[in-house]
Amino acid sequence: MSASRDIVEAAAVPAGAAAASAHPPRWRAGWLNSSRGLGLILLMPALVLVVLFFLMPVVLTGVFAFTNMSTATGISGGTYQVTPGALRELADRHGMDELAEKLGQPSFVVDEQGLKALEEMGIEPAIIADLREGHLGETHASRREFERMLRDLPERPDTRTVKRISGEFSRSLANSRFSSRESLLAAAEGVDPELTEEEKTALVQATYTGWVWTADNFRRMASSRDTVRILLNTIFFVATTLIIFNTAFAMLLAITTHYIPERPAGIFRIIWFLPRISPAVIYVLLWKWFAWDTGFLSAFLDNFGIRPRNWMLDTAANAWFFVIVINGFVGASMGMVIFSSAIKAIPESLFHAASVDGAYRWQQVRHIILPQLKWPILFVTCYQTLSLLTSIEQTLLATDGGPGGATEIWSLAIYHTALNNYAGNLQYGYGAAMALVLVVIGIVLSLIYLRVFNYRALVAKPRIEL
C-alpha cells in the first residue's frame, strides 16, 4: 500500500513534466523529417551513381550506336585533314580530280608574302636577306627539298627555325590539319578562290577525320553473317547452360544434399560454392590447368594411351563443353541455394506422410519437391538468362571466343569489336550498336521479370505518412 503511494507521488513529480515540455523534440530540421525531403537526400548518392554510370552511359551508348566511331575517328571529335586518302575520295567519289590535284600538290614557294611573315615572326634578318636575294620566286615540290635549300643558306638556321620557315612558305594543303571547317575552307579558297558550294561540301566531307552520324551499324549488323552466327552461339550458350546447369543440375544438387546428413551436405555446398566465390581469373586458370596439353586431364589420359592435347580448345565441341561447364559450375550454386531453401520450407510432416504412404523417394521428389520448386525455377531462369547473356569474364579468359570464333558470344563480340582486338582497330560505334541490342533485351527481360514477380507487391505503400 505504501509502496504504491510512493509511486503515485513519484509519478506526480512535476519536474519531469516541466523538463519534458521545456525540451521539445529535436525534429526541427524539416527536411530530415519528411519522407520527401529525407528520401531525396538519402537517395542522392544512388541517384548520382545511377546518372553517372548508368543513365549517361546508356544514353551515350545509344548515341554511339548511330556513329561510325572508331580508333581512327576518335571519340571526342575530329579535325579536317587533307590526306592523300581524302583527296582520292574527292577525285573518285565526287569527280573533282582537278580540285584534288590543286589542293594536294605540295609546293613551297619563296614569295614576298612569306618573307614578310618571317619578318613578323622575328626570324634573323640575315636569313631573310639570304632568301630574298638568292631564292625569291623559287618553287620546291617537296618539303624535304625546300628544307635542304634552307639549310644550305650561308646563314644556316637551326632545325626548329627551318621548320618554322617551311611552314610559312607552304602553298599547298596536302596533309595539313585544320581544327575547324571555316579554317579549312578559308585555306582552300587561298589555293582556289573559285570554289563552288558543291566543292566546299565535298571537301569538308572528304577531309573530316572525326565520326559522323550513320545508321550503317545496324544495316551492317543485319546483313553480316557473323551476326547470325554469334546470335546462334549466344542462344545456344544461354539455353544450354541454363537448362543443364542453372536449373537441372542445381536442382540435382539441392535434392541430393537434402537427402543426406547435414554435415556432408554442408561440405558439398561449400565445394559447389567455390566456383562462384573464386575470382574469375584464378577459377579459369584452374580449368586451364585441368584441360591444357600439359594439364591434368592430358597427363591422366596419357596413361591410357590417349594423346595429350589442349582439351579446352581441341574442337568446337570441346570448347563449348568447357565454356558451358565453366559458366555452369558458377551458375549452379545460385540455383542450389534457392532450391535448397525452397525444399527446406516444405513442412517435414509432408515427407513423413509420404513415407508412411510408402512413396518411393522418386515419388517424393516428383510429387512433393518439384511442385514446390515451380516459382524458384522461374525466378532462377529469369535471373540467370540475363546474367548469362551478359557474362563475359569466364568465357573471355577461357577460350576468348575460340577456336575459330566457335564460342564467340554476343557480349564477348562487343568486347572484341569495341575494345580489344589484335589489330587495335576498336570500333566503338559498331560495338555500341551491338551493346544497344543487349541493353534493349535486358530492359525487355527485366520488365517481363517485374510482371511475373508481381512487382506491385514489392512496393506496398509506406505505412507512415510523414
Binding site: 581512327a72 586518302g85 582520292r88 579554317s183 575460340g402 587495335g424
Partner: protein
C-alpha cells in the same frame, strides 16, 4: 592569308616555343612499347640512353636538362592498343609509343600521333642513314610520322634432322633457301614434305607443319605467296582467288594431318618450347625467333639444327617475306616542348650503335646502313645472313586507316576455315560480304 596556309598549327606552336626550351628544365618523358618480350627491352631502354646523351649535349651547351624516362613494356598487342587508345582519349597517353607501323594510319587520322617530320631534320644523322623503304613504312600519305625502331623478316624454318630423315642431303638443305627463292620449292612441297615426316613417324601427327598459333602479320605472307595484294594505289585490295587459295592451303594442311585442326590458340609459351626443341618439322617465324630459341629455349646449335628461307611461293605468287617494323611515334601532347624533346630522344635512339643493341639482343634486323659497320652487328651470323637472304624480298603491310578491319576479318575467315567452321569458299564469300559491309568503297574486291 599566310596564316591560313600554316602547314600545321601544331608545328607552329612547337617551333615558336623553341626559345624556352633552352632554360633549365625537368621533363618526364613516358614511353610504352607493345608486344615486347624480355629480349626487347632496348625498345624502351634506348630512350633512356638517348636521354642521357641529350642531357649531356645540353650540359655541353651550358644548359641544364633533366629527363626522367618512364618506361612500360606490354607483352601483348590487344591490351596495349586498348590501353593506348583509351589513354589517348583520356588525354594522358605517353609521349613515345613503340608500335606496329600499321597503326600510323588510324592513329594519325584520329590525331593521336603527330608527324615526326615536324620536329626533326630528316636529312640529319642518323635519320639520313635509315633505309629509305623503312622510312617509307613509317610514313603515311607522304608524311613521315615515325622512325623505324627495328626491322625484321619472317622466315620459314626447317628442322634439319627431320629433313634429312625424309631424304634431304646436307647439300640439298644448303640449297633449299635458293630453291625457295627461285620458286622451285613451293608451299605444295612444304605440305608434301610435312606429310612425309608425319607418315614416316618422324614427327607426331599435326607437327609436320607447325605455324604460328595465333593472329599475326605472318599470315599476310601466305596471302602474298598465293598472289594476293594488300594495297594498291592507297586502296586496300581483296583478291578473292588468292585469299581462297591461302585459306585452302591451311585446310589442306589439316586434312593431310600435318597441321592440327585445333592448332590456333595453342599457348605461345608451349609453341616456342616445341619448335625450339625439335618437336615440329617445318614452321615459320620471325628473325627474332633466333633470340628466343637460343636464349630462353636453350637451343645450342641454331645453324646446325635449323635452316631457314623465304616463305615459299604458292600457286599464283612468289616467295616473299614480310617485314613488320615497329616504329617510334610521337603522340600529340599539350606541352609541345615535351614533344620536341621526345622527338630528339627518338632520333638519338636511332643511332646505329644504340639500335644495334636492340637488333642483336632481340635478333631483329638493323634500320640503318651503317649498322653493318658496327662489329656487334656484322659479327653476328644471324643478323648478317638474315639481312642478306630475307630483307630484299620483304613486303610490309600497308599503312591504311582501314587495314585493321581488313586484318581482323581476314583472320576470322582463316580461323573459321582452319577449324572447319566454314569451307574456304564460304569463308571468302563471308569475308567479301563483311568487307563490303564495313569498308564499302574503301576496298577493291577482285
Amino acid at each position: 592569308m599566310t596564316k591560313h596556309l600554316l602547314r600545321s598549327t601544331v608545328a607552329a606552336v612547337a617551333l615558336a616555343s623553341s626559345a624556352t626550351y633552352a632554360l633549365a628544365e625537368d621533363v618526364t618523358i613516358r614511353v610504352w612499347a607493345g608486344g615486347s618480350s624480355p629480349n626487347d627491352v632496348y625498345r624502351v631502354d634506348a630512350i633512356d640512353i638517348a636521354a642521357d646523351l641529350l642531357e649531356r649535349e645540353a650540359a655541353v651547351r651550358g644548359e641544364e636538362l633533366n629527363i626522367t624516362v618512364e618506361k612500360k613494356v606490354d607483352n601483348t598487342w590487344d591490351d596495349f592498343k586498348q590501353a593506348v587508345t583509351l589513354a589517348a582519349e583520356a588525354g594522358n597517353v605517353p609521349h613515345i609509343l613503340v608500335t606496329g607501323h600499321e597503326d600510323i594510319g588510324p592513329w594519325s587520322q584520329s590525331g593521336l600521333i603527330v608527324p615526326i617530320e615536324d620536329y626533326v631534320n630528316l636529312d640529319a644523322w642518323p635519320i639520313n642513314d635509315i633505309y629509305e623503304n623503312l622510312l617509307e613504312v613509317a610514313s603515311y600519305g607522304g608524311v613521315v610520322y615515325g622512325l623505324p625502331q627495328d626491322a625484321e623478316a619472317r622466315p620459314f624454318f626447317f628442322w634439319k634432322e627431320y629433313m634429312r630423315k625424309i631424304g634431304y642431303t646436307d647439300a640439298d638443305l644448303d640449297g633449299l633457301a635458293d630453291k625457295v627463292q627461285s620458286g622451285e620449292y613451293t608451299l605444295a612441297n612444304v605440305l608434301e614434305d610435312a606429310k612425309k615426316m608425319v607418315d614416316q613417324g618422324v614427327v607426331p601427327a599435326g607437327y609436320g607443319f607447325y605455324p604460328r598459333p595465333n593472329n599475326g602479320p605472318d599470315y599476310w605472307q601466305f596471302y602474298t605467296s598465293f598472289g594476293g595484294v594488300m594495297e594498291e594505289d592507297g586502296k586496300l585490295v581483296l583478291d578473292k582467288a588468292a585469299m581462297q587459295r591461302f585459306y585452302q592451303f591451311f585446310v589442306d594442311a589439316v586434312a593431310a594431318g600435318v597441321t592440327r585442326k585445333n592448332h590456333i590458340g595453342t599457348p605461345n609459351d608451349q609453341w616456342w618450347a616445341e619448335v625450339a626443341s625439335g618437336k615440329a618439322g617445318i614452321w615459320h617465324g620471325g628473325t627474332w625467333h633466333y633470340a628466343r630459341y637460343t636464349n630462353q629455349e636453350g637451343l645450342k646449335d641454331f645453324f646446325g639444327s635449323i635452316s631457314f628461307s623465304l616463305i615459299p611461293a604458292g600457286e599464283g605468287g612468289k616467295a616473299n617475306t614480310l617485314t613488320h617494323p615497329l616504329v617510334y611515334v610521337l603522340t600529340k601532347q599539350d606541352n609541345e616542348d615535351e614533344v620536341a624533346i621526345a622527338a630528339e630522344l627518338v632520333k638519338i635512339a636511332s643511332e646505329p650503335r644504340i639500335n644495334t643493341l636492340h637488333a642483336i639482343k632481340s635478333a631483329h634486323l638493323g634500320i640503318t646502313k651503317q649498322q653493318s659497320n658496327i662489329d656487334l652487328y656484322s659479327n653476328d651470323r644471324w643478323a648478317r645472313e638474315a639481312t642478306e637472304r630475307l630483307l630484299p624480298h620483304a613486303n610490309a603491310m600497308p599503312n591504311n586507316a582501314e587495314f585493321g578491319t581488313y586484318w581482323n576479318a581476314m583472320w576470322a575467315g582463316l580461323e573459321a576455315s582452319w577449324t572447319g567452321q566454314k569451307t574456304p569458299e564460304q569463308a571468302v564469300q563471308d569475308l567479301e560480304a563483311e568487307l563490303k559491309n564495313s569498308l564499302g568503297e574503301g576496298i577493291v574486291i577482285r
